[in-house]
Symmetry: C2
């Protein structure tokens, strides 16, 4: 089922107000960490998967990229199109990326993949839309944050201190929480499950980061200091790699040594 919580009027107005605050977790933590891992963008074609109100697409365009933004939410897309009328946006679920015809130098996605039930299928369909050597860069809710099914979050102790409640880690799948409205569904995956698709020969894993707030960010928004105790975001960067047609997949070293590597553009 494709979730379209962003078109829920109450969710939409709450989310919009949050993102319009000068200081929020996106502006102070997630976006700086994601953007620090962007490759050179001049002349590149970029798919912005889960583009929301289009701010990341606009940032990429300003640095020389040609972007195409997709999102399932009509309301978010209307906002994006109004703000950035010169940019390309399309209503499309991330689950339907395979229906796109173009190939991209880069696929970026900011905090959208945790809404998708079939993560492995999503990564495979993104790979098919990347040019050989193209890259995927995405942020996702950190497994530490979403594991606990009861969503107890920060738990107070008798002496006034607190800690983060952790549980249910190996039980992957659907989690419900309240975020502006009840019943927002995200999908919990372990670290190892999030990385597994990128450890095959079809990809080279390039970065795994857990953003740390800067001192300046903490001054601007003191409660973001909690990120030092419990991370909210995970960022992954990977490059589409050679794949050998035929039986099995060879290690790149043997490909090089034997000179038998072949590109699979399929």
């Amino acid at each position: 089922m494709k979730q379209n919580i962003y078109d829920d009027p109450e969710f939409f107005s709450g989310y919009k107000a949050l993102r319009e605050q000068a200081h929020n977790y996106n502006v102070l933590l997630e976006q700086p960490a994601l953007r620090a891992l962007l490759p050179d963008l001049a002349g590149k074609t970029v798919l912005d998967a889960g583009c929301g109100a289009g701010d990341l697409s606009a940032y990429l365009t300003a640095r020389g990229a040609t972007t195409h933004g997709i999102d399932l939410s009509e309301k978010m897309l209307a906002l994006a199109q109004k703000r950035y009328p010169e940019l390309s946006f399309e209503r499309l679920a991330l689950e339907d990326i395979a229906s796109l015809e173009e190939s991209y130098d880069l696929v970026v996605s900011s905090l959208a993949f945790h809404y998708i039930e079939d993560y492995t299928g999503l990564i495979a369909s993104i790979r098919e839309r990347l040019k050989p050597g193209g890259e995927l860069l995405f942020s996702i809710e950190h497994p530490l944050t979403v594991a606990d099914k009861q969503r107890r979050y920060w738990v107070k102790e008798a002496d006034g201190t607190d800690h983060y409640a952790f549980d249910d880690y190996q039980e992957e799948g659907r989690r419900e929480s309240r975020w502006f409205v009840d019943g927002v569904v995200t999908f919990h995956r372990t670290f190892s499950s999030l990385l597994r698709p990128f450890l095959n020969a079809g990809w080279t894993l390039e970065a795994v980061e857990e953003p740390v707030p800067s001192e300046e960010a903490i001054m601007q928004m003191p409660r973001i200091a909690r990120e030092l105790r419990k991370p909210s975001f995970l960022i992954v960067k990977a490059k589409r790699f050679l794949r050998v047609l035929g039986e099995g997949v060879d290690h790149p070293l043997s490909l090089y040594n034997q000179g038998k590597g072949r590109e699979d553009n399929g």
Copy 2:
């Protein structure tokens, strides 16, 4: 400082008794997961880094490998030598791996790296002792387990349920805990810090696993079911890869295409 807690008489006797139990976390969870990731061992030379009482060395030897076990603890080595007199053991700290002269097809390490302060240096020195294409396979305490500086572990709630206390994640470094004796020192590293050395062109990351207990293991030791809620172990496997001499490091794809890759055996 090289920690030699295994030679503390009280620690040693407690640890020895634990490992001699038919059902413990090593036998039921960590060793099966580690061993499942072993490559073909026939004719291979293997360094067992932190070999303890030598059981893993013996397992590897039975599968055709020639092993060399190193450990800092005299008591553990005496036990290993007594149990497996035909195998090769040497008293050497993991911090001094660079002083070994042989190169190995495989370096394995079971639950030793969290005792080492300079993790990045350790991984670099292991790389130098691996043959090109050689592999490193190790288990380590999971960052989730060791992050909390107060070591609150499982916290009871008013209604009788419990959860695991999580905290201090981004504050890497020294942690003290009680395990048989007070003051056992381990070093906390984040998930991203543990993987970072392997995301350079000098390595290919092959596996990242968080072992899940089998139904049989849970039947034999019911409390190991808690591993479904909070993992204790992380397992990493990586292969020593090509490195280009001179300026910068190229992506394997460009090496292949340009035919300019060179092996660095240094």
